[in-house]
């Protein structure tokens, strides 16, 4: 089986992006995927399904919680929302990511 040929995102970044997305409002998986694509203008193309293992992992860690609800089109869908622990985690990850970004920029000489 050939690996997914689209550009991979930095490991761990997907979780941060999901957390960031959920700060706007509780969303279902498809919503999160849509949002990520619009936000990053297709740069961060993800194999969309890989959202779900990530969401699962985050639920286990207690960063997000989920419940079933209805979409505006009256379909049943699972909505994910950020927990207080998730908010803390996001702050932490953003801080880490900023540091990393600064470091990368310094190395690349783009500041």
């Amino acid at each position: 089986m050939a690996k997914n040929e689209r550009s991979e995102i930095l490991p761990g970044t997907l979780e941060m992006l999901i957390l960031k997305t959920l700060t706007i409002a509780p969303m279902h998986g498809y919503g999160i995927a849509q949002h990520l694509q619009q936000l990053s203008q297709d740069v961060l193309q993800v194999e969309e399904g890989s959202l779900y293992p990530a969401l699962q992992r985050m639920q286990l860690k207690g960063w997000v919680s989920s419940e079933w609800g209805q979409t505006p089109t009256k379909r049943r869908a699972r909505y994910y929302k950020l927990t207080p622990l998730g908010k803390k985690q996001l702050a932490q990850e953003v801080a880490d990511f900023d540091r990393l970004l600064v470091a990368i920029q310094r190395v690349m000489g783009t500041t």
Partner: protein
């Protein structure tokens, strides 16, 4: 980073997920479906056709099945579930291949069983602590003499009077005990009137200080052990503690034995306790323990005076803060002080240094040959197990090949490669477990069998190291054995499962989907070829070892022991209130035995052949010259009755044997063996020369004869220079060894010999009865043991390796059927196809042989302790083994090769 509360919370969530996993899976599927449908709807709204939209959405989403799998894997307990699933699947697929499964399980059970059996012995002998509390703090101390009589440094037991002082001079000893050694005739007394009289029984007793049992921390099974108050005899004599086997054998295992009385020779004792079976004393084979001082008090005055110079083992318990090093240093200091109080015996001009040292108790009891023996066993059995693994890996690789399409389908359906590897490994571990469980039973039986045929290791001069450690030891698997077998089984499963698992994970679906016919089998079989080369190499090395041992064993049996072992009986006497006391009575008894029907001759001596029990004395004068210390090794001293050399049939080389010219009174004549003649007179005739070995006070004796060297120690030990004295010339009796040569079978004459002894003196106990052939067998038992096991392992290895060669070639032939068919169709001769296949086998076998010979050359170093009369680089052995393995390798290729020539081109091409 993570605090424990978060961790517990996560674990709780994981368990909740697991408990509701069905609902979870349903919901996950629904959620994913929703995602794809929403996406498809969006695509449709953007103008795609319904089909296009659905297709795009699915592609965008990725492989749903694999993602679901991954999501499942995220859960902690997911892997448990997966493992159970894998195991179930493994069982199912193994059931589908019953022949393969049966072969695999049987060979695994035997391999794991044999390995664990050897480990059981290693565990009992090297790992299991002695059955005493904090046994690792127990040490044995001995005197050291540099230079020694036998080695550069000799170990000598301490004497009682030195022990008493040593105990106070070494602060590193929290407590210490002394144990000397003697044999007695034990007889029960005070039996109720009318009870059947019991005969005397020879028992090995340890004469111990009252501190010994407390030092060891040993507890009695019934009654009590010897305590401080027992150091002096009471009105009813000394106290005595029995071993469990003696208690069962001589006292019927009766608990009422406590408080009853018995006599040791003539000394009265009261039985106060029975030790558990696990307690075998300081010297392992002890059967009874009595307080040394109380027993001496009961004896005559000389006995009390002798006690001070009685030699024995000193066992001590190290103080909590003391190490072996501090104990050693303190003993050396103490030994210097002791040398001032008890000046060491001086001899000639060169002085030996007397000091002392300390070793762990467990270490002190191990025979020096034990480690080399167990090392050889472990390596041999490990080699066989590796070959078993290699065979199974080969079989599994072939199976994996057959299952490639299955794997391909599974990958195509979205199974992760990691999951496939795990699946394959689970299968091999399930197989290994199926073999490992019966393996435990085989191990238990195997260890017991090994223990039963254990060799009598040649006696060793170093203190305590004669112990037969396996005597009375439980071989039932303990936790160490169970841990070992579990780890071994899992490791074996991983080992032989690794290759096929990797092969499965490398499966390329493109290959599978393409037409099956275009595959070339040769590259894929490289792993199997390497396995087979390794197998042949291991088997060759094992067989070379076995071959060297067979040659050693034959050399040992064929070697000149200096006497004729057939039709010979030896036995030892003890006690005897009248017979052993005077030379005349002994001569009368020997004459009585010699006169028995079927008897050729009989004699007495102080040292049986192959018994390692001889006395050594230094040479003090040769002719008129006084020797210096260390100039000559000490002489083996034999005090023999007149017919001894004739009874043993020791060849006479020069001069004469003892006859009536040897007048009683004082020793005037000696016979020396060839070694002594060579050593003392360097090729000149010793007849008529003079020699003193009994100290300067006795007059020199004249050498009247030279006889061949007799092996008194062991067959594979060099003969020592020996001097024979005529017992008739001594006023004191000689030894208590009887040798007799029979005309009929020696075993048949035994009852008559015993009767003759009892008629002479009923108080004599007979022990150590053996025929000459038995003595030789016992002396060769170490070599025989190693020979037997190495041969067994070597043959098993060779058989397995041949199967391996056969397997890989059979597989190659199957792979290349079409090719062979084509070759034959275009006119190739069957013989050229045959040669093609055989050549492959020869290359494999040849490569294996090269590795094997190299390996054998390196590994036979480990056998050096057991080889006799053969070099470890013995060329004939190597040549024979290489030839045997080579022929076996070619034979193993013949069946597949012949099959290759029978390929029907039509059928092969049509397939």
């Amino acid at each position: 980073m993570r605090n424990p509360i978060e961790y517990v919370a996560e674990l709780t969530r994981r368990i909740r997920f697991y408990l509701n996993r069905e609902r979870f899976e349903r919901e996950l599927a629904e959620e994913m479906r929703f995602h794809v449908e929403m996406n498809a709807r969006d695509h449709e709204q953007a103008g795609m056709s319904a089909d296009e939209a659905a297709w795009a959405a699915r592609r965008q989403f990725g492989n749903a099945a694999r993602l679901r799998d991954q999501t499942g894997d995220v859960m902690a307990v997911g892997w448990v579930e997966a493992a159970i699933q894998d195991a179930r699947y493994a069982l199912r697929s193994l059931r589908q291949a019953p022949a393969f499964t049966a072969v695999a399980i049987t060979s695994l059970a035997l391999g794991i069983g044999a390995t664990t059996a050897v480990f059981t012995l290693v565990n009992v002998i090297l790992l299991r602590p002695l059955p005493f509390p904090a046994a690792e703090r127990l040490v044995v101390t001995a005197q050291t003499v540099t230079p020694g009589f036998f080695f550069a440094v000799d170990s000598m037991p301490w004497t009682y009077n030195k022990y008493v002082r040593l105990r106070e001079m070494v602060p590193a000893f929290a407590d210490a005990g002394f144990s000397s050694w003697d044999e007695y005739n034990l007889r029960r007394t005070g039996l109720p009137a009318g009870a059947p009289a019991q005969s005397a029984e020879r028992v090995r007793a340890e004469l111990v200080t009252t501190s010994l049992f407390s030092t060891l921390g040993a507890r009695a099974l019934i009654g009590r052990t010897i305590a401080a108050a027992d150091s002096m005899p009471s009105a009813s004599g000394a106290v005595a503690v029995l071993s469990e086997p003696l208690w069962r054998r001589h006292f019927g295992g009766d608990t009422a034995v406590i408080g009853t009385t018995a006599v040791l020779d003539k000394l009265p004792v009261t039985i106060i306790g029975v030790m558990p079976a696990s307690f075998t004393g300081i010297r392992e084979s002890a059967e009874m323990w009595v307080p040394i001082k109380a027993l001496a008090e009961l004896g005559p005055r000389e006995r009390r005076e002798q006690m001070a110079n009685e030699m024995g083992a000193v066992v001590a318990r190290l103080a909590p803060n003391a190490s072996l090093a501090t104990a050693n240093a303190q003993i050396k200091t103490a030994a210097r002080a002791l040398n001032a109080i008890f000046p060491p015996p001086a001899f000639g001009s060169r002085k030996a240094e007397w000091s002392g040292g300390v070793v762990g108790f467990a270490e002190a009891r191990r025979h020096p040959l034990i480690r080399p023996l167990l090392t050889v066993l472990s390596i041999a059995v490990g080699g066989v197990l590796l070959i078993v693994c290699a065979n199974l890996a080969g079989l599994l690789l072939a199976r994996a090949r057959a299952r490639e399409s299955e794997m391909g389908v599974r990958i195509a359906l979205g199974a992760g490669r990691g999951r496939l590897v795990r699946q394959m490994l689970t299968e091999s571990v399930v197989l290994a477990l199926a073999g490992g469980i019966p393996g435990v039973l085989i191990a238990y039986g195997g260890a017991a069998a090994l223990a039963r045929v254990r060799p009598t290791l040649p006696p060793n001069f170093v203190l305590l190291r004669n112990a037969d450690i396996l005597q009375g030891v439980s071989l039932a698997p303990d936790w160490r054995v169970l841990v070992f077998v579990t780890v071994l089984t899992l490791a074996v499963g991983m080992l032989f499962g690794a290759a096929p698992a990797l092969a499965a994970s490398r499966t390329n679906i493109a290959d599978i989907i393409k037409v099956a016919g275009s595959r070339g089998g040769t590259t894929r079989a490289r792993g199997r070829r390497l396995l087979v080369i390794g197998q042949v190499g291991l088997a060759t090395a094992l067989l070379v070892g076995a071959g060297l041992m067979v040659r050693s064993f034959r050399a040992l049996l064929a070697s000149d022991i200096g006497f004729a072992a057939d039709h010979l009986v030896t036995l030892r006497l003890s006690g005897g209130e009248s017979t052993l006391a005077t030379p005349d009575r002994r001569a009368e008894m020997v004459a009585r035995i010699a006169a028995l029907p079927g008897m050729e001759s009989a004699a007495s001596s102080n040292c049986p052949p192959l018994g390692s029990d001889c006395v050594f004395m230094p040479v003090s004068r040769v002719d008129s010259r006084a020797t210096t210390r260390g100039e000559y090794p000490p002489m083996e001293i034999h005090v023999v009755s007149r017919d001894f050399l004739r009874t043993l049939r020791v060849p006479l080389r020069r001069g004469r044997v003892f006859d009536s010219r040897e007048a009683p009174g004082r020793p005037t004549a000696v016979i020396v063996n060839e070694s002594a003649a060579r050593l003392l007179w360097r090729g000149q005739s010793p007849i008529g020369r003079r020699l003193s070995t009994l100290g300067d006070s006795t007059a020199p004796t004249e050498v009247v004869g030279v006889v061949a060297d007799v092996k008194y120690e062991a067959i594979d030990a060099p003969s020592r220079p020996a001097v024979y004295y005529d017992a008739g010339q001594f006023s004191a009796p000689g030894g208590s060894v009887i040798v007799a040569r029979t005309r009929t079978s020696p075993a048949e004459t035994m009852p008559a010999i015993r009767r003759a002894i009892t008629e002479t003196d009923p108080t004599i106990a007979v022990f150590g009865v053996a025929t000459g052939d038995e003595m030789v067998a016992r002396a060769a038992s170490g070599t025989r043991f190693v020979t037997m096991l190495l041969s067994g392992f070597g043959l098993a290895a060779a058989l397995l390796a041949a199967l391996g060669v056969y397997g890989v070639l059979a597989y190659l032939v199957t792979q290349r059927r079409r090719e062979f068919g084509v070759r034959m169709a275009i006119g190739a001769q069957p013989s050229s196809v045959l040669a093609l296949v055989v050549r492959q086998g020869v290359v494999l076998t040849g490569a294996g042989l090269v590795i094997g010979v190299g390996g054998a050359f390196a590994a036979t170093r480990l056998l050096s302790n057991f080889l006799y009369g053969v070099q470890r680089t013995d060329v004939p052995t190597y040549v024979v083994i290489v030839a045997v393995v080579g022929v076996a390798g070619v034979l193993a290729t013949l069946i597949p090769a012949v099959r290759a020539t029978r390929v029907d081109p039509i059928i092969a091409l049509r397939e």
